[in-house]
Symmetry: C2
Subunit: 247 residues, 2 copies
DNA sequence: GCATCGGCTTGATCCATGTCAACCGAAAAT
DNA sequence: ATTTTCGGTTGACATGGATCAAGCCGATGC
């Protein structure tokens, strides 16, 4: 009987416990590349799992930092607020991705993390992570890679905001989402957006009307089918071409 | 005789050697917060100092990554190139700042680092830095902070590119430079720009003409005096006000 | 079943910034 | 000293996306 959990005490206990070692996201998340024994040591560290309801904050800008968070399920956005009321979405995060890295710098969170659907996170006390990563080379190295990847991702967004036109930005955004859904075993061609047009616009440096118009345009061109938050990508290459050709 | 280097063999040797322990940037750079003994261990790691002439690359996108670099003197820019020829400056770096963090992620550099004036850097072999930071907690923690700070900085740039108007962007840029020069003991009100209008524009997501016009506008308003690359800030609060008031 | 509300779409118009072009001045090359 | 080159400034005009405004649709509440 494959895919069936044997009903003995020992196994059902380990399933209940929050554990990286039996998390199906482990290859996308912090545990990447760890041995079984190393994984078990990481399990000890991640004691808290927490549910965050849609719309609730995981943390707020200004709060003291002490943990980073791995998303076990669900979908988040992070945003930054300026004194004058302007704000900007700095990212959308999905299962297996880490939240809170910005807080290490000043020991206070510098942005807000808000659940866009009911979600579940694993809290990783940062000082314990540092301790453990002194002992497990693979963990240390992978954590450095994750931080670096975040920097590279941010450069990509800067590129997008600095040099791309509205439609290019939206195409890049859709292709990026598609690719991340694929990496999680979901369809690359069909998905639900968890965020509003306004949130997309904020992330892409556009107004919601412009985002809406670009969606309509893509639909007219036959690149995608949109119905509210439901997106089907009909012509990936069309979208890619749109991004790569300087007009 | 304070501030005088005694002329005995041992000390003059250690002065010649590249050494964090007698670098006047140590409080801005990687060695921040280390004890004297820890500093000396860091010295062993940083064996290579290298001069980079104005216009030369420190590294190029695509090259294998093995070191990060601390700027000992001079001024750099980093930029990213897209296949279609578009490029964007992702940052300007000055003495005491680190370059190359983006390369950790894929073990290849993802951007170009180019000297904007004759410069000197310390190469820090990354795998040895990881080894040492397993032993020196302060080093590990500070390095994490530096990476996190880079992420926070990038969020600031995303904010700037996503929500600010041309003049706000330039004001933010000047204030940021001013603040960083101040931290290095230079005047906060008077400095030379090392980069062209085009490079500023690329960084700020603007065309060089727009940058030029904004400089002229600031001068008309009496906020600054510009003469080519020489900038004097005459009214810091004027510039700040310009940034904070939503129009 | 009807009203309300939030999110979305679409149209008309406006404006900030891009584009194109001419010119200037400082610095480098001859 | 003269010419060339490069970076910078400024003006005239074009345009992509913002703004303002109306209306639609699906979900939620009464």
């Amino acid at each position: 009987m494959p895919n069936t959990i044997p009903l003995n005490q020992e196994i059902s206990l380990s399933v209940i416990k929050t554990a990286c070692s039996n998390c199906n996201l482990r290859e996308l998340c912090l545990p990447f590349g760890l041995s079984l024994e190393e994984l078990e040591r990481l399990d000890d560290l991640i004691s808290t799992r927490r549910r965050i309801k849609r719309g609730d904050h995981l943390y707020r800008a200004g709060e003291a930092f002490d943990s980073i968070y791995a998303i076990r399920s669900g979908f988040f956005k992070t945003d930054v607020l300026l004194e004058d009321g302007r704000d900007q979405v700095t990212g959308f995060q999905m299962a297996g991705e880490l939240l809170g890295l910005d807080g290490i710098s000043t020991e206070h969170h510098t942005c807000n993390a808000i659940a866009l659907e009911d979600s579940e996170i694993c809290a990783i006390p940062f000082s314990r992570l540092e301790t453990l990563s002194r002992e497990i080379h693979n963990l240390q190295h992978h954590f450095h890679k994750v931080m670096s990847r975040e920097i590279v991702r941010d450069h990509g967004v800067m590129m997008l905001l600095g040099t791309m036109r509205a439609e290019e930005r939206l195409a890049a955004f859709l292709l990026n989402l598609s690719q991340r859904f694929t990496a999680r075993g979901f369809s690359h061609a069909e998905f639900y957006l968890r965020m509003t047009r306004e949130e997309i616009g904020s992330y892409l440096g556009l107004k919601l009307e412009t985002v809406s118009r670009a969606f309509s345009k893509f639909q007219e061109e036959g690149y995608i089918a949109v119905q509210q938050k439901h997106i089907r990508i009909l012509n990936v290459n069309g979208l890619k071409a749109l991004m790569n050709h300087r007009v």
